[in-house]
């Protein structure tokens, strides 16, 4: 008989318990700290999760440039950019709460599962306190959900679906970028002025969350201005050649084609539409028109001369003449030799807004930061007076209606501003039907 206290069953039980403990993801074992990835005294790390490969890699690169610039400005390097024009003066160019800002980058590849894996790695392995960036609503919603579970603040990049701050909103997620409803509300009156109220629109729409809400918003806003909707057709993301979706438009009786496409899909669909002579066509006694509700500079560059005279909307554009825009364009242009895109702008502003909220809250605790951002009103960031609404974490500000320039003078001179739509015109109630169905929920600090 053995005197040993070790039994086979005991060893298995202990081993199983220890194994399970070790196997638990670190994001669920943060109870020892006050909150997830509480930074030390010397530095704080933030994560930039942007597409570095795939169709939006150039846009991701531009976001990354702006994010690096924001970190420089937070650490007191360079000319300070928008810190000089920002209405809040909580940041002093000495990092965040005296800690030097460091960053790591991840690649979303514009795929939700890849983006989540990348964000998870930055949270668990790199210990980031906040995640910022991205160029897709599908990705933003996926990463926002992960950050909520992990107790991390998510400062969204380019995401335009109503769902991001609608049915999929989360207490730990914040969006500075405008949304599909705002695009519709800003564009519809301009389109009515330009093309009249007796129009028949045909919609081609990307078959995912952004496309669906963009189409819903455009249909509602244009119909409110007298337009009729001839047809709405969903197209697969990355369809390549859109000719087989464009040809049915020719004899549909529609006199306007609304392309609810973004990025490479928009470039390909508008190219096909122009090739098939839609812009030279007359229907119902009127010139046929094309509308692209969401513009970006890189997308316009890819579409080339096909976007001349085509209306769309933007969150921000480097040609604005306010002090904040001038400061940012100067910093960015001198460092990188080109003006920033509107996705670069939103990522830059989001990084500064996060840092400012930490400074005002006096804590990195995500719940304290969230509280500082909720209801925060600010100015000097290129969009005029802006509100981070507490109810849904959506920023409310002016929206730009843009048009493809007829005679561009250089590669950056592609779009021109038609109108700055005032914030009041694009505001909506938090319980608006297009945003209904989700709950913000409670903030999660990971404690």
């Amino acid at each position: 008989m053995s005197n040993s206290k070790f039994t086979r069953r005991g060893v298995i039980k202990t081993g199983a318990a220890a194994g399970a403990g070790l196997a638990l993801p670190t994001i669920f074992t943060g109870a020892a700290n006050a909150f997830t990835n509480e930074p030390g005294a010397g530095s704080v790390k933030i994560g930039f999760n942007v597409p570095q490969s795939g169709p939006y890699a150039d846009e991701g690169l531009d976001e990354l440039r702006a994010q690096e610039l924001a970190v420089e400005h937070l650490n007191g390097v360079g000319d300070g950019g928008m810190l000089n024009t920002f209405s809040s003066k909580a940041l002093g160019g000495n990092g965040i709460l005296g800690r030097k800002v460091e960053f790591v980058t991840g690649n979303t590849n514009t795929k939700s599962d890849v983006a989540r894996a990348s964000a998870k790695s930055m949270i668990e392995k790199d210990g980031v306190i906040m995640i910022n960036g991205g160029s897709s609503s599908g990705v933003a919603i996926a990463v926002q959900g992960l950050c909520q579970e992990a107790g991390i603040i998510f400062m969204a990049g380019l995401t335009h679906s109503n769902d991001t701050t609608g049915k999929d909103k989360k207490a730990n997620g914040f969006r500075h970028f405008f949304n599909a409803y705002m695009s519709g509300a800003a564009l519809a009156p301009v389109l009515e002025n330009a093309y009249g109220s007796d129009r028949n629109a045909y919609h081609l729409t990307s078959d995912y969350t952004w496309g669906w809400t963009q189409q819903e918003s455009m249909v509602a806003s244009t119909e409110a201005h007298g337009w009729k909707t001839t047809n709405t057709v969903l197209t697969p993301v990355g369809a390549g050649d859109f000719s087989s979706y464009i040809t049915p438009v020719l004899n549909s009786g529609a006199d306007v084609l609304v392309l609810n496409h973004y990025g490479r899909d928009m470039i390909n669909s508008i190219t096909a539409a122009v090739q098939f002579g839609l812009r030279d066509k007359q229907v119902n006694g009127k010139d046929f028109q094309i509308v692209v509700p969401l513009y970006s500079e890189l997308m316009a560059e890819g579409a080339g001369e096909n976007i001349k005279g085509v209306y769309g909307s933007m969150n921000w554009n480097w040609q604005l003449e306010d002090a904040g825009t001038a400061a940012f364009v100067k910093s960015f242009g001198e460092k990188y030799g080109r003006p920033p895109s509107n996705s670069a702008h939103t990522c830059y502003v989001q990084t500064l807004l996060y840092a400012d909220a930490v400074a005002r809250a006096g804590s990195f605790n995500p719940c304290a930061v969230g509280e500082a951002l909720e209801g925060f009103e600010f100015d000097g960031m290129g969009n005029g007076p802006t509100l981070y609404r507490a109810e849904d974490h959506q920023c409310f500000k002016d929206v730009l209606v843009m048009k493809g320039k007829e005679n561009p003078e250089n590669q950056f001179d592609i779009l021109e501003k038609v109108e700055t739509t005032p914030r009041a015109q694009v505001e909506y109630a938090p319980d608006h039907p297009m945003f209904a169905g989700g709950e913000l929920g409670a903030c999660n600090s990971g404690a």
Binding site: N268, G277, E409
Partner: protein, 343 residues
């Protein structure tokens, strides 16, 4: 009726691209027995030959215009292409305008050389390896080529328009008795279709009516016997690899005005082209061409609203669905030969 005609035309130009890529794939498979997953990348490289020539022709000298400013408020730099200085503004601009057709001449030597380098430098080492190894190595090569293009040209599509003379569209409906505006088709897509027929016809004529082609066909049928006759069949097959690379490259060059090229351009076609090869019958050149056009046209019809209302989502699966049905009915594909890929 007009909608059906329009979708048929659509299918023909899409099918033309599938047929050209599938033809090259079949040439390589039929001669060298290699499953070349880098073939889509060759299509992409061809399209970037057009981009490169456009940029070469547009190389400019810079002058300062003190009356204009750039985005930072500095005096604006005005770029003027050298070619406009050498030949005058009108002729210089016309040469740049015609960069896509001119790129055909530019692309042929580049693509043939690239084909030789690929075959001699890498692929020949995998002739006696399993098909899975060949797929892995050529797929890896495709990714390397993509990343090289992305590094130098970026990820954003680059507009590469057709010459101004071919930019518009034709009212084909009026020509055949329909109402005006009923069947409008872009001129460049018609040119692409005709171009593909010429290339396909040229390849078939080359294989059918030249001694070189006869030897290659004999080698495709029975490589060992041709070798025993003292003919260096390997050398001819290497040349065929170069020709197949050039066909893919030319398909890419001419496709640039239809869709702006980007580094993932080839992958969009590669998978579908493999389906085309399998449906046509492994190793069958006429089968590849026939299946290319057939699947192109079916894909177009499946995108019609009337069809999608009955079968939602059919546009995304039609090609694979047809491939399954054909392979169930004819396991060797439409024109497949016994013994190919069956050992």
């Amino acid at each position: 009726m007009d909608a059906i005609l329009l979708q048929t035309l659509n299918g023909l130009d899409k099918g033309a691209a599938y047929a050209l890529i599938a033809l090259g794939l079949t040439l390589i498979f039929g001669t060298l027995g290699v499953v070349n997953f880098a073939h889509g990348a060759l299509f992409m490289i061809g399209s970037f030959c057009a981009v490169t020539l456009q940029r070469l022709l547009s190389i400019s000298y810079t002058t300062i215009d003190p009356e204009k400013t750039d985005f930072l408020g500095n005096p604006a730099k005005i770029e003027t292409p050298y070619i406009e200085g050498w030949f005058g503004p009108e002729i210089g601009a016309a040469i740049i305008d015609w960069s896509v057709p001119l790129a055909i001449i530019f692309a042929i030597p580049i693509m043939v050389t690239l084909g030789f380098i690929m075959e001699r430098g890498l692929i020949k080492h995998f002739y006696n390896r399993p098909h899975a190894d060949q797929i892995l190595v050529t797929f890896g090569l495709a990714i390397v080529l993509q990343e090289i293009i992305k590094y130098y040209f970026g990820a954003n599509p680059i507009p590469t328009p057709a010459p101004t003379a071919f930019k518009g569209s034709l009212d084909i409906g009026v020509m055949i008795g329909f109402d005006p505006n009923a069947i409008i088709y872009p001129i460049w897509r018609l040119i692409y279709f005709v171009f593909s027929l010429i290339v396909i016809g040229g390849i078939f004529a080359f294989l059918r009516f030249t001694t070189f082609g006869m030897v290659v066909r004999a080698g495709m049928a029975d490589r060992e016997t041709v070798g025993l006759l003292g003919i260096n069949i390997d050398k001819r097959f290497t040349i065929m690899f170069g020709i197949a690379a050039a066909v893919a490259g030319l398909a890419g060059v001419m496709y640039t005005p239809i869709n702006s090229p980007n580094y993932e351009f080839g992958m969009e076609f590669l998978v579908l082209s493999f389906v085309v090869v399998v449906v046509g019958g492994m190793g069958s050149l006429p089968g590849a061409v026939m299946a290319g056009f057939l699947l192109g046209i079916l894909g177009s019809f499946a995108s019609m609203n009337e069809v999608k209302q009955i079968f939602p989502g059919i546009d995304q699966i039609i090609i694979y669905l047809v491939a399954i049905i054909i392979l169930l009915v004819r396991p060797r594909g439409l024109m497949g030969r016994k013994g190919v890929m069956e050992e």
